[in-house]
Symmetry: C2
Subunit: 462 residues, 2 copies
């Protein structure tokens, strides 16, 4: 197996084709690589410039002061094979190819060029990612060889809160791969990697997952798949992830005729029957998801709760809005969960805190007054103590952060100590401060109630 | 029928129980009523204060300088019946009752008090909303008799962009009713009313919808229902809405045993079988939705496109991200839409603008280059021109507003002139400026791809 450590955790990176002009991809990619604080060495390779973006440049990879771990190829498709050959000959262990126009361009010489890329990778035992990749981001290492505008424009910490496990995204689509990160960031969902594999001439998605399982910084995997190229690798790696207790949340496109057409022209993927994939996913405990937010919601709940999986399907719901509680109860039932009436001792405990127009049955409609008195944490604890309940969903109105502020320490303590999963759902638009407090505590805060039910059901099924 | 105009568009409002202390509900409700610029007359009624929040107060409703159209009762449950009687005797035409502790509190005298409320309303022919209501907002009139924190904290214009039709929310749950507004506001979705009907002792949801149909400021209705109390009224009003071409998007909770328990203890609703409701909804063209965002997405698409309903189920998809296009195609197919290959003349037109590694088949994978050249509007027009397509979904990355800025006028022209619905989906997190430009143009911008497919399918089915 080629050295994927050289690809995803290199100490040195050559940027072949680097340009001083940051408005074009050849320049933008170097700019992005420089801007996030990667601690390794970066070498621009340019035939026409001696200095590129403030760094000394070299005419070819053979002229570099050291043999780089990773060669980042930002050159046109037609030049890729020759350059890759030069890299291999120079002893470069890994390459990332961003250019389009390979197997997805059936009208031209693309497919033949892609075969060449694969053959050169094999000949030299190089770890080659792409072509037609949007690059990747190793976030803890601040290594971002990509032209993704999401990474280009990202401000501040790239890794999110550390109170829960970290998510690695591995995607055959560049746009969608980085979109998971983009949509997760304002929610402070913690990511370890975003890796986009493109046409997968050599390395494929599950090779990458296997490397990340060994590397250990990721706790949950999000996969966006147009195809699975090698069923054997899939089975081995999926079994390994399951054995390691690292959940996989996957999107597999191509269920429709039009979706298959799109995949073929996009990353040259030949997709198989949806039912076959579904059965394989079920067998290895992989949760399928259908929308970007749903993927993130399920992955965030796994990241927070994978070390306290529920023993069964029974959910306790606590709410100050009767309508919201009833709606969520319906969603939980539809997702295959149970919402049983609570036991008498638990109800007695709860009844001591709520007015007579509330109810302790389940959903526990505790009214706003009890939220003020006990906080979301206190109410969640009362319900979690019931033997009739395997996990708890707390209905919140996170638009006001006051309740969260007041409850901050208790929420964090609850997340640390609870042996049962606790998930927050907000029916109102969460304030930034509420999002921050929940993330710092390590409690997932969702706004989509169907996803909330589905995520807790996925925990129960895993 | 009582005068619902006096209730929802009063010229004068008495606030019975108004307090100077804005930290309690009796004071907060008056504060909210004063803060949004309602042009009518407001009279605090207080036994203990001569001036309340800067306004002269009166000891009873009979002492007011005029008989008010609407009496807003912010007093405890036990005092409501007597006060309502006084209002009726004084000739007040409408009342809103916020107190809890009526039929939803089966342990006490609540049910009997609720019967009294109903009887007094009938006796005087008063339009009575509640009890256990969170109040309402008539947004164009800036009339907000409610203690909802959503309305209390709302800054700036309450009505959203006017480029598309307006949405009226009628909800039996206060928290959820105002949550639709709260979640729709940052998206600039235009609302006309949010009305929460609580226990519905006298007026019920469909009475309110009927009034709003006659009143005409709403174009689309969002309903949150725990129960339908009167099947006859439902049928009459649903048929009237359908005949007027004003779509209804409804959530009906109580499909599960736990959901039914919650509804009973919340607004004393006895809910019927889900299948029966579903059949009734289908018959009257009512679209059912399952999550807050899904409700808003479908309603926003109806608000923008109800005057250009698609002739069939065939969707054209245009995208610069192959993965996103394929995923959306799958979602459209799953929602019952068709994504046919485009005709040869249309493909030829499109092919002139895209590189060979793109494709014009459908989804049209046009690549980022074509987006820069033609804008989303130009690409949407090319696809909309095809005879094989009844509506168009444009996949965007709205995190950058540049493309939207450049395309602003053309997007607005497209929304005005297109005879087919055009809907935007963004896989990345939309920038505020993108949201504003789309809203000003009158084009719905969604971030959930399943909702996007479902909304276009709902248009096609309506």
């Amino acid at each position: 197996m080629p050295d994927l450590g050289a690809l995803f955790s290199p100490r040195s990176v050559a940027v072949i084709g680097a340009s001083p002009d940051a408005t074009i991809i050849r320049g933008r990619t170097l700019k992005v690589l420089l801007q996030h604080g990667f601690a390794g060495r970066i070498y621009p390779v340019s035939r026409s410039h001696a200095v590129v973006q403030g760094l000394p440049a070299f005419p070819s990879v053979a002229d570099l002061p050291e043999c780089p771990d990773l060669a980042l190829l930002v050159i046109p498709a037609a030049s890729v094979a020759d350059e890759l050959e030069r890299c291999g000959a120079a002893g470069v262990k890994a390459a990332l190819v961003l250019a389009s126009g390979f197997a997805e361009d059936a009208s031209a010489s693309g497919p033949a060029m892609q075969t060449k890329v694969r053959d050169i990778a094999r000949k030299y035992g190089m770890a080659v990612c792409g072509p037609n990749s949007e690059g990747f981001a190793n976030l803890p290492a601040r290594l971002c060889p990509t032209f993704s505008p999401v990474i280009e424009e990202a401000q501040g910490s790239l890794t999110g809160e550390k109170a829960s496990g970290r998510i690695a995204v591995v995607s055959q689509s560049g746009g969608i791969g980085f979109a998971f990160f983009d949509r997760g960031r304002p929610r402070r969902i913690p990511f370890s990697h975003v890796i986009t594999t493109g046409n997968e001439a050599a390395l494929e998605c599950f090779d990458v997952v296997e490397y990340l399982l060994d590397e250990q910084s990721a706790d949950v995997f999000v996969l966006f798949l147009e195809t699975i190229r090698n069923a054997e690798t899939f089975r081995r790696v999926a079994a390994k992830a399951l054995a390691a207790g690292k959940p996989i949340v996957a999107v597999k496109i191509g269920a429709s005729e039009a979706g298959r057409r799109a995949a073929a022209s996009h990353t040259a993927a030949l997709v198989g029957a949806a039912e076959v994939y579904r059965a394989m996913f079920r067998r290895y405990g992989i949760t399928e998801a259908t929308d970007i937010e749903q993927v993130l919601d399920i992955a965030a709940v796994f990241a927070a709760c994978r070390d306290r999986l529920p023993r069964g399907k029974r959910v306790g719901i606590v709410t100050a809005s009767g309508g919201a509680g009833g709606w969520l109860a319906d969603a939980c039932s539809a997702a295959g969960l149970e919402v049983p009436e609570l036991d008498a001792p638990t109800r007695k405990n709860i009844d001591a805190h709520i007015p007579s127009y509330g109810t302790s049955q389940n959903p526990v409609d505790c009214t706003a007054q009890a939220v003020r008195q006990l906080g979301y944490s206190g109410l969640a604890s009362l319900v979690a103590d019931s033997e009739r309940v395997d996990s708890v969903i707390v209905v919140t109105s996170a638009r006001s952060s006051e309740t969260f502020e007041r409850d901050r320490e208790n929420l964090a303590r609850l997340a640390r100590k609870s042996s049962k999963p606790v998930v927050l759902w907000s029916y109102s638009q969460p304030a930034e401060a509420s999002v921050r407090i929940a993330a710092e505590a390590g409690l997932p805060l969702l706004v989509n109630l169907q996803n909330c039910a589905k995520a807790v059901a996925a925990l129960a099924q895993y």
